[in-house]
Symmetry: C2
Amino acid sequence: ARETVAVVNQKGGVGKTTTALSLAAALARAGERVLLVDLDPQANATSAAGLRAVRPPSLYEALTGAAEAAACVRPVPDEGFDLLPATAALAGAEVELAPVIARERRLEGVCAPLAAGYDWLFVDCPPSLGILTVNALTAASGVVVPVQCEYLPLEGLTQLMGTLDLVRATLNPRLRVLGLALTMLDSRTRLAREVAADVHRHFPDQTFATVIPRAVSLAEAPSHGRTIFRHRPDSRAASAYRRLAEELTARAGAP
Amino acid sequence: ARETVAVVNQKGGVGKTTTALSLAAALARAGERVLLVDLDPQANATSAAGLRAVRPPSLYEALTGAAEAAACVRPVPDEGFDLLPATAALAGAEVELAPVIARERRLEGVCAPLAAGYDWLFVDCPPSLGILTVNALTAASGVVVPVQCEYLPLEGLTQLMGTLDLVRATLNPRLRVLGLALTMLDSRTRLAREVAADVHRHFPDQTFATVIPRAVSLAEAPSHGRTIFRHRPDSRAASAYRRLAEELTARAGAP
Ligand SMILES: Nc1ncnc2c1ncn2[C@@H]1O[C@H](COP(=O)(O)OP(=O)(O)OP(=O)(O)O)[C@@H](O)[C@H]1O
Ligand SMILES: Nc1ncnc2c1ncn2[C@@H]1O[C@H](COP(=O)(O)OP(=O)(O)OP(=O)(O)O)[C@@H](O)[C@H]1O
Ligand SMILES: [Mg+2]
Ligand SMILES: [Mg+2]
C-alpha cells in the first residue's frame, strides 16, 4: 500500500471515525483500492459503514490468530472500499494481549499480507493510547490526527505527540504525521477560531488547509449506514472531505 | 455519603467530564460537601477545575496503594468542592491492575475512608468499559449517563446497559441508574430531537427532564480553569446544570 494511515486521537468524540470513514470513501470514489480497519471495540466505523450484525471472523479473530486476516475482510456495499470490522469482543483484546510477546505488533502482522492488495489502509482508533492504539501506530506508515476546535481536545495534543515520539523511537521508526485535520469547526464561535489559530501556530506545516465544518449531515449519515457521499453527496461536508482526501494524497508517499 | 455517582459512557466526547464537574460545582454551591474523583488518565476534569500541574500523590498513587487516599485529595479554589486528581500515570493503571487480586475493587477501597466526609462523590470515567470504569461501577451507588443526541452515541447505550447488568450481577448489587442526561442538545436539528425522543421512549422513567443545551460557554469554561458557575453564572447552561442537580437530589437516597 501507498500508506497505512492510523486515524488517532485519545480524546473522545473528535471525529476519528467520521474522518477515517469519509477519507476511505472519498479515495475509493477516486478509484483507489481502500481497506478500512475498525480497531475500536465500539465498532462505530463498522456500524457507520452499514454493517450491523457482524458475525465472526472479525478483526478480533485476526488479532488473536484465530483466523486469517483475509478471511475477515468484507466489501462495503455501494461504497467501494473494504472493511476489516470490529466487534465488542475487541474490548477483551486489550487485556488478552497484555502478556503476549510483541503484543504491539499484532496489527502489523494482520495488515502485512493485506497491504499489497490496496493503495490505502485506514485504521480507526479508539479514544485511548492503550495497546490497540499502539498497535495501530506500530503498523502505520503515517497518522492523521482529527482535532476538534475546543479547549479540552487541544490539551490532549501534547500528550499524543509525546506518544508518537515514543513509538517512533521504540517500535516504528518510519512513523510520521501526515497531518492534523481541524474538525467540527463552528466558525461562528470565537473559541473555535482561537483554537484553530492555536493549532496552526504550533503545527504550521502539519495542519491541513482543509477544515471540516460542523454539519448535521455528518452526524445523520451513520444512522442510515451510509457515508456522507451517499447521504448528502452535494453538501459542504462531502466536498470538504473530498478536498481533505486530495490534500492527503499530495502528502502521501509515491504510488 | 448520600450517593457515590459514577458518570459513565464509553462513547467519547458526550459530556461526561462537563457533567461530573458541573454537577459537583452546582451541589457545592447548594451547600453540599462534594468530592470529584477524576478517573480518566487524560485528566480533563482535573484541568477543567483549574489544576494544571498536578504533582503526586494523585489518584494513581491511591489506587496502587502507594499513598493514603486522604493525602491525595485537594480543595478546588473558589469552587467549594474537593478533587481527587488524575494524572497521565493512570494510563498505566489499566495494565498494572490486570493481574491484581480483586482489581475491580481498588477504587472502592480508595473511596471507603473518604465517603463519611462528603454528601456526594462523583467519579468522572474515561471513554471505555475497561478496568478503570469497572472500578467506578463497583465503587458507585448509582450512575448518571450523559447521552449526546446523535446516532453513534445512541448505539452505545445498549452495550452500556449490558455492562451495568453484568456489574450488578457480579460485583455490586446495589448499583442503579440514577438517570440519563441528554447533553449538547442542538434542538434546531431534527436528528437531535429524534434521538432525544428515542431515548425518552426507551428509558421513560430514567431520562432526566432537564436537557443540557449545546452552549459554547461550556466549551470555553475549561480554558479558564473555571466551572460554568464562575465563567457564565447567568447562562442557560448554568441554570440547566443547576436544575439537573436538583433533579438528581430528588432521585438520590435520603441524606
Ligand atoms: N463535522 C461534523 N459535524 C457534525 N457532527 C459530526 C462531525 N463529525 C463527526 N460528527 C458526529 O460527532 C460525533 C462524534 O464523532 P466521531 O464518532 O466520528 O468521533 P470519534 O473521535 O470517532 O469518537 P470516539 O472517541 O468515541 O471514537 C458522532 O455522533 C458523529 O456523527
Ligand atoms: N453542552 C455543551 N455545549 C457545548 N460544548 C460542550 C457541552 N458539553 C461539553 N462540551 C464540550 O464538548 C467537548 C466534549 O465534552 P466532555 O469532554 O465533557 O465529554 P467527555 O464525555 O468527558 O469526553 P471524553 O470521552 O473524551 O472523556 C469538550 O470540549 C467540552 O468542553
Ligand atoms: Mg470513533
Ligand atoms: Mg471526559
